[in-house]
Amino acid sequence: MDLFVFFQLFLPGLTTGCVYALVALGFVLTANVTGVINFAQGEYVMIGGMLTAWLFAESVPLWIAIPAATLTCAALAAAQERFTLAPVRHTPHFIRVTITLGVAVILRGIALIAFGKDPLTLPGFSGDGVFTMFNAILPVQSLWVWGATAALLAATFWFLKYTDIGRGVRACSINLQAARLMGINTERLTLFVFAAAGGTGALAGIVITPIVLANWDAGISYGLKGFIGAILGGLRSPSIAVLGGLGIGVLESLSAGYISSGWKDAIVYGALIAYLLVRGGVFYVGRATLVGGSREL
């Protein structure tokens, strides 16, 4: 096998994988505190990228545009939780999931109206140059993506391990009911986790935009692929979810290069379905789940 070609596919795959990894992390955290998977998660990635690019085009400097877009997405995600999920905590699970899908549609629509159909672009944060690594030629922006992802992951894991709120999140992911009984303010925690997931997603979208352009309909694809990463970790383990996300990025890039770029999405989705079927369904472990009271995630 030609190693040059391999790295030329592998390393850019790792770069998009970073985005999926951050989305997967957001999925795991929100799913654990609310019991609901947030279909709008990928849309925050899209809005983060589009909003920054749009602000930049309106000659707002990057150091203002980036925090502004990140905070906007964090606020949007918090508002989503507060106004569309908190009021219906006790309705059937499928209704809540469907509501998040409705929110995703609204966000897509708003992006289409506000930013238009054409993809937006950003210059690389430190120029549009390239560098070589293992003979593969990569845009310098890749370093920003890797660095930002590493920093965000480190911050998240530090936060989960060493802060009260972080411990609260972990408690919720082990047993939501017990966490509530122990006096953890799950309402506030949920709001916080949604905002954090929205902000992280937005940052991921921002750093990748100089490489892949920002498109109003990209959210669904980010969401689905991030979800695949999350599901590899059983929606429980943030670290496996992150590895899953990176792996999906690499798989996608390798199948585009070695098999066919047209089929790459089908291969990734096919891998997901195959994985789910081999596992017999992550949440359908024999008949134990038939016993009443089991939590349906």
Binding site: P92, L101, I228, G281
Partner: protein, 613 residues
């Protein structure tokens, strides 16, 4: 009540037919008729989706994938092979249903949003395949030159004729949906949505009904896809993308998830709304408005349009007068004695060496006992003794680590709960597991599942034998309600009844199985003294029918006068077995209930024994 409901159905159908029939008279232009065709196609696609999503709560979001399959099969057969369009439509239905059948069983094992994502992924794979398989599908450009619709040579070149043809097909789909709705399959879907645990306990084959609905909805979606291809005169991969799946979803939500009509109403409303936005030059707003409608309707009006219209109809037609009061006097003669029972003394249930651990905890450790036909056996022990776990092992709710369970000599330890129920073992739950989305009578009717024989085909066509079987099921369910003393409660929702009465509904549901053996998990828990007494009488009357009873109880006083045989458990082990009077004298039993000190031969012991008695 049921007469009124039947009336409501007929009126709704008539009103819909009239509205659809006269629309072209008011808007005969080719554009508005075209809009009507699009709405009709979408209406057909929504019916199966409502059953799958609204009834069974299965989040299969990728339905547009099957519209695409139907559209392509139809377009390719018509364009490349000169098939008759209607024959091609039927072929599309067959292909879509076969494909759905292959996909359904594995994919429907997934639950909740995992299913949603997997089905979306499936749809996206279809789209990629359609774009990439250029020689077959024409790739991104699509298959062009699809002929106008025709049925075996009779052309529907006139758009108004095609409009009527599309809506006739939509109404056929609605009719099939309504037939399923008011059949046992409709009840099965609602039962699955409410509690898979309880659905299994009455013998409902959960996966089978999910699969059937998935396949039917794929067939109906395929019809819609074919109609769309003939309307657009082309088929390309962009028509049925993610956006169409979302529109379909919005349609059923706005129309009402809990009514077969909801989908058709919603499809019409959505199509009209899109045209309105287009005429106002606001097409970009479509996505935002659809999303808003979805969220707002789900948050505030979960019943959607159909729910609102139904409620209005009920309010206009309701006559004065309160509902008939619930008769609490049970009617022992309501149920006939069960025939075909094995003779008394036969071993009905035999548990041998049953073992089950959770981590390091041996919840049930090598427990063996037999239940003789015609007897009442009580499994007793203090809280945490492992009684309910043992019960779940017998009922198939948890696998055994070791040991066997035999029912009339047949090993059942590897069977699923619904298989076990179909053998004739009924059960009730300690924490009530009623189907809150159905009436009390329908709850009990669900108990008849193992005795019903009409399948999906005869139910879809509403053959005469379906109506006969429904009537018989209804009669038997009423008899079971009379037997437990709930005459008159049939049309209420279970949540309107007191806790004690809800427990009776569960017992009636288990009795509706015509079980040979009934398993009752702490039937007296949560009941007051009077209710407990009545319950004990009911258990005796159930035994008098010839039904064998195995019950779990932690309160010894309840079972003393009731059971023929006691099995006492403590810390997961069987510590005593025998007739109640003998068992309560055993030191180990007293120790288990009152602590080791109570066994010392003192005055305290005697008073303790009296207490236990």
């Amino acid at each position: 009540m049921s007469a009124l409901a039947a009336h409501k159905r007929t009126l709704a159908f008539a009103a819909a037919v009239v509205a659809i029939a006269i629309y072209p008279l008011f808007y005969p232009g080719s554009y508005p008729v075209g809009v009507g065709i699009v709405a009709g196609a979408m209406a057909a696609a929504t019916v199966g989706f409502v059953l799958l999503l609204g009834y069974a709560h299965q989040l299969a979001f990728g339905q547009a994938g099957f519209l695409m399959i139907g559209g392509y099969v139809n377009a390719i057969l018509c364009v490349n092979y000169r098939w008759d369009p209607f024959a091609a439509l039927l072929a599309g239905v067959v292909v879509a249903m076969l494909l759905a059948l292959v996909i359904a069983r594995p994919i429907l094992k997934l639950r909740g949003f995992v299913l949603a994502i997997a089905s979306l992924a499936m749809q996206l794979i279809f789209i990629v395949a359609a774009i990439e398989a250029v020689p077959i599908t024409g790739g991104a450009l699509g298959t062009q030159g699809v002929p106008k619709f025709a049925i075996f040579g009779v052309s529907f070149a006139n758009e108004i004729a095609f409009y009527y043809a599309a809506w006739v097909m939509a109404f056929i789909c609605v009719g099939i949906g309504l037939n399923i709705d008011r059949s046992r399959i409709g009840r099965a879907l609602k039962a699955i949505a409410a509690s898979e645990t309880a659905a299994g306990s009455v013998g409902i084959e959960i996966v089978t009904y999910k699969v059937q609905m998935f396949v039917i909805s794929a067939g109906m979606a395929s019809v819609a896809g074919s109609l769309g291809a003939h309307y657009l005169r082309a088929m390309d991969p962009n028509v049925y993308g993610f956006a169409y799946s979302l529109n379909l979803l919005t349609a059923v939500i706005i129309g009402g998830l809990t009514s077969v009509w909801g989908g058709a109403l919603g499809a019409t409303a959505i199509t009209g709304l899109r045209e309105l936005l287009r005429s106002l030059s606001l097409p970009l707003w479509e996505s935002v408005i659809m999303g808003m409608l979805t969220v707002v309707v789900l948050l505030a009006f979960p019943g959607g349009l159909a729910g609102a219209i139904g409620a209005l109809f009920d309010r206009l037609t309701r006559r004065g007068g309160a509902a008939a009061p619930v008769t609490v006097e049970p009617d022992p003669a309501a149920l006939p004695p069960v025939t075909g029972m094995p003779p008394p003394g036969t071993i009905m249930l035999s548990v041998d060496g049953a073992t089950r651990s959770f981590g390091n905890l041996r919840a049930v450790n090598h427990v063996s006992f037999n239940v003789e036909a015609g007897s009442i056996v009580a499994l007793i022990g203090p809280n945490g003794a492992g009684k309910t776990t043992l019960f779940n092992l017998i009922g198939g709710y948890q696998p055994l680590d070791a040991g066997t369970v035999k029912f009339l000599g047949q090993p059942i330890e590897s069977l699923m709960p619904d298989d076990i129920a179909r053998l004739g073992i009924g059960r009730t739950f300690q924490n009530l597991q009623l189907f809150d989305n159905m009436t009390v009578l329908e709850n009990v009717m669900c108990g008849r599942f193992r005795l019903n024989t009409c399948g999906i085909l005869s139910i879809s066509a509403r053959l005469p034998r379906v109506a006969r079987e429904e009537a018989a099921t209804r009669r038997a369910a009423r008899a079971a309600l009379d037997f437990v003393g709930l005459r008159g409660a049939g049309d209420m929702p279970p949540t309107a009844l007191s806790f004690g009465h809800q427990r009776l509904v569960e017992i009636a549901r288990a009795l509706a199985l015509e079980p040979k053996l009934i398993l009752m998990d702490e039937p007296a828990s949560g009941l007051n003294d009077t209710e407990t007494e009545r319950l004990a009488e009911l258990v005796l009357r159930i035994a008098a029918l010839g039904i064998t009873v195995l019950l779990v109880e932690h309160d010894m006083r309840v079972v003393m006068g009731l059971a023929d045989q006691l099995v006492v458990m403590h810390h997961g082990e069987k510590i005593a077995e025998g007739a109640p009077d003998a068992v309560r004298q055993e030191p180990e039993v007293i120790a288990a209930y009152l602590g080791q000190d109570a066994v010392e031969p003192t005055a305290a012991n005697r008073s303790a024994q009296e207490h236990v008695a």
